[in-house]
């Protein structure tokens, strides 16, 4: 087990190094930060001088090594656009994205699990058919279209909920939360709904599939035969069996939701990391782009490694590398 742990961790570290190289490669050839930083009236000499001071004239390997060494210490430099330490900047934005993703995840579970159970239990009913079709529609709606529709309906036509921003926030230490104020919670509703649409259908379909399988198992049949009430079978025994995959999926999807939040954040002007990233792309703010890519990949790798290790701990067969290749590293 220890050997597996070390191996998995080393593997994750290697992956992060490669991500760093990729990030660096991409950014090395992308736009020109100098043009964004200088005054419109700066001369060519001014530009050349700034270029030199930023180290943009150094050799490729030198720049990469400098990048990795600094990144390892969480130092991604100063944002070209905001002139602020990049990690501080991302740190300030992280709570906004995290709360959005958290609430979207909660919504997906609260809606997805019951819907999944219903479609599985009443699989031949009209309701289940409608829900199934609804779930396909949910997967097929691009999240930016959902967002636009929600704004049109609830902000513009009905005027119930704010169309942008986080509302009033409260600082708890370095963490700024919107969950403690009415306007903060109101502002969270539409973006979280829009972000969770896809996740709801995902959870619903997974629960349905697992439930269908469980309902066919012998112990459910026995329970039925023994006269255990159907509701009790479905909602307690069978559902409990499906929860492990749902939790795994939810855990692994968090990384994806953080990344996909950048679309939602763009539509709702949500001041999170994703919006920061999209603005950084527009302004060629390379340090911010690099830090964002590294951070999101880190969260991804961390979650995947944790899932792998948990699975290996539960099921020793997966510690063998060949078997793992077929296992859950999604």
């Amino acid at each position: 087990m220890l050997a597996f742990l070390i191996k998995r961790t080393a593997n994750a570290a290697l992956v992060m190094l490669a991500v760093a190289l990729l990030a660096f490669l991409i950014f090395r050839f992308f736009g020109d930060p100098v043009e964004m930083m200088v005054n419109e009236q700066a001369t060519q000499a001014d530009r050349a001088e700034l270029r030199e001071r930023l180290g943009l004239n150094d050799g490729f390997a030198t720049q990469y090594l400098r990048f990795v060494a600094h990144a390892a210490q969480g130092d991604f430099g100063i944002s070209y656009r905001n002139q602020q330490d990049v990690m501080t900047l991302i740190g300030e934005r992280f709570p906004a994205t995290f709360e959005l993703v958290l609430v979207a995840t909660v919504i997906s579970l609260v809606l997805g699990i019951p819907l999944g159970v219903i479609t599985a239990v009443y699989r031949r009913s009209k309701l289940a058919d409608a829900l199934q079709i609804g779930s396909i529609v949910g997967v097929s709606l691009p999240s930016f279209v959902t967002g636009i529709l929600l704004i049109l309906a609830f902000s513009v036509s009905l005027g119930w909920l704010p169309a942008f921003g986080r509302g009033e926030t409260v600082d708890i230490g370095w963490w700024s939360t919107g969950l403690l104020t009415p306007s903060g919670r109101a502002a969270l509703v539409l973006p979280a709904l829009s972000l969770s649409t896809f996740q709801v259908t995902l959870v619903m379909r997974l629960v349905r599939a697992e439930m269908l399988e469980t309902l066919r198992t012998d112990y459910v049949k026995f329970a039925r035969a023994r006269g255990v009430p159907a509701a009790r079978i479905h909602w307690r025994h069978a559902l409990r069996n499906c929860l492990m995959p749902v939790i795994t999926l939810t855990g692994m999807q968090i990384g994806n939701l953080i990344a996909f939040a950048l679309v939602t954040e763009t539509v709702f002007q949500w001041p999170g990391m994703g919006l920061l990233f999209i603005q950084a792309v527009t302004f060629v703010d390379i340090p911010v782009m690099a830090a964002y890519l590294m951070l999101v990949s880190f969260i991804f790798v961390l979650l995947n490694t944790c899932v792998d290790i948990t699975y290996a701990w539960v099921d020793p067969r997966l510690r063998d590398d060949t078997a793992k290749a077929g296992g859950g590293n999604g």
Partner: protein, 524 residues
């Protein structure tokens, strides 16, 4: 898990009902801007919008009044000494910074040193400055590199810092991005202006509160400004309609009818000083390597004749722009009405001129536009590309953010491009003449992206730059603008529209042709 979820769900439902219930007695202006300011340090970044917003916090020695005439601010009077290159400024007494420090000549000296530092991105805004000397605590002499008529215009935008505060926080030098350190002044502000910074979260919210100790009599009644960037135009409109913001300095032109029709929303519109122009390459070859036909004046004229300016005005700009024949707006000193004639739309003549100039049918060239630049830029670029296609050319439209386009423009990796010029903060025709139309050398011709050179024009511009007699100087500038027009160096399209919108909560919001919000004149 479930009870918690329930609690959260009901909390969300409750939030729906309670949203925006908080009432405040003070006058809070919620300002939804189209973008954030880059920093709290007006010297950190050569960006007009940032400087404009920070003008609420920091002030210069002189300022523009409601009529855009220069009036005393932190300086009460000034005179030019006998040598002709030294200006003496007498400073206002009894002014204090937000932290309570008194304002003195040392502060001016420290600020001038800071803004003219080699690492300062704003040093180009004070091109003639050489040195300054404190005469007494309320008098300072500023020495220039020659006779220069526009020092006061330049000084309107040079904000004054508190020397003690700068020294205390190690911020005497401008923020140096290259050094990789945060500047104290980037997040903290201490000016003399009508508002003080209460808090700032980049890209989310910056709060300004009224400065009770402002030296001037306030003409505003705002206690608090909450400045929020809302970059998406559609979201900004939605926010204004739902009352989430009270004011925006950038209402999308296409949404004005809807905003005007909406109850409780007022639209303020006008024509900006910014003239939108199209520039040509004068190099040997196009970016593609093909010979460049645009160094032939007939080709340039043909492209102008092929643009239906009225149609763009009516459709793309929705009748809100002002069709322009001159490269500066009528309000700008140096403008002359006879230069403002607009050519008739004549595609036949354009074709004939192209043939005469030997431009091959189906000539491909790049047309470089900026997606986050001028008002409806993407749309008018598409429309112009279509008009040029109709006279047998093949413009390749290249639309991308400014960060991507600017290097291509300055390095000559593109052909035809757009440019908007408002002559800010100078408000004089000398600004475009020096920076755009002059041959590229030293501080001149920085925006001469096409690489043209007209010695006759340069001579006029240089003469105007050291002429202290305003009348003579303006005559020279007008003559220079006539050459620009005659040679079709750049094609003026229009002065772009500007539109602000407020909710009924705002009683008075004066709109200025330089498109700069001055909330110290606003009433709620």
């Amino acid at each position: 898990m479930t009870p918690k979820n329930l609690a959260l769900a009901s909390a969300l439902a409750l939030a729906t009902m309670l949203g925006g219930a908080a009432a405040q007695a003070e006058n809070v202006l919620k300002w939804g801007a189209n973008r954030d300011i880059g920093s709290l340090d007006p010297y950190s970044y050569g960006d007009s919008f940032t400087i404009n917003v920070l003008n609420h916090v920091y002030e210069g020695l002189v300022r523009y009044n409601r009529e855009l005439k220069i009036e005393p601010a932190l300086a009460t009077s000034w005179e030019i000494l006998e040598d002709g290159v030294t200006w003496r400024f007498h400073l206002r007494e009894g002014v204090t910074f937000h932290n309570g420090n008194p304002f003195t000549a040392d502060d001016v000296l420290a600020s001038l040193a800071r803004v003219s530092d080699p690492a300062s991105p704003l040093k180009g805004n004070l091109p003639a400055y050489v040195s300054a000397e404190v005469v007494d605590p309320l008098t300072i002499d500023i020495t220039l590199n020659g006779t220069y008529p526009l020092l006061l215009n330049d000084l309107t935008n040079i904000h004054i810092f508190d020397k003690e505060w700068l020294v205390e926080h190690g911020a005497e030098k401008p923020t140096d991005i290259g050094a990789g350190v945060e500047g104290y002044a980037t997040y903290n502000a201490n000016g003399t202006g009508p508002f003080m910074v209460e808090s700032r979260q980049p890209d989310a919210k910056t709060v300004f509160v009224k400065n009770p100790g402002w030296w001037d009599t306030p003409q505003h009644n705002i206690d608090r400004i909450e400045f929020t960037p809302v970059t998406s135009a559609a979201t900004r409109v939605a926010a204004l309609l739902s009352g989430e913001i009270d004011f925006t300095n950038d209402a999308p032109v296409q949404d004005l009818p809807r905003l005007e029709a909406a109850p409780g929303v007022n639209v303020l519109e006008g024509v900006d000083l910014r003239t939108v122009m199209i520039g040509f390459p004068f190099r040997e070859t196009l970016a593609s390597g093909a010979p460049n036909p645009f160094s032939d004046i007939r080709a340039r004229e043909a492209l102008y004749d092929a643009i239906d300016l009225e149609l763009i005005h009516a459709r793309v700009m929705r009748g809100k722009s002002r069709v322009a024949g001159a490269t500066v707006a009528p309000q700008i000193p140096g403008y002359a009405p006879e230069l403002d004639s607009v050519p008739a739309y004549d595609p036949e003549k354009a074709r004939a001129l192209l043939a005469e100039a030997g431009v091959p049918e189906g000539l491909e060239f790049q047309f470089n536009c900026v997606s986050d630049g001028l008002v409806n830029e993407e749309q008018f670029c598409q429309a112009i590309a279509a008009m040029w296609a109709r006279i047998g050319l093949k413009p390749q439209l290249d639309v991308a953010p400014r960060a991507v386009q600017t290097p291509k423009r300055t390095n000559g990796q593109t052909d035809i491009y757009t440019l908007g010029w408002a002559t800010l903060p100078m408000l004089d025709a000398y600004s475009p003449l020096l920076q755009i139309f002059h041959t590229k050398e030293g501080n001149a011709g920085v925006f001469n992206w096409g690489g043209w050179s007209f010695p006759e024009l340069d001579a006029l511009i240089d003469a105007a730059g050291s002429e202290l007699d305003t009348e003579k100087r303006l005559a020279m500038e007008t003559e220079a603008l006539a050459i620009v027009k005659r040679e079709f160096i750049m094609l003026p399209l229009h002065q772009q529209p500007m539109a602000w919108a407020t909710t009924d909560a705002v009683k008075q919001m004066p709109l200025f042709p330089d498109n700069k919000p001055r909330l110290w004149y606003a009433q709620m």
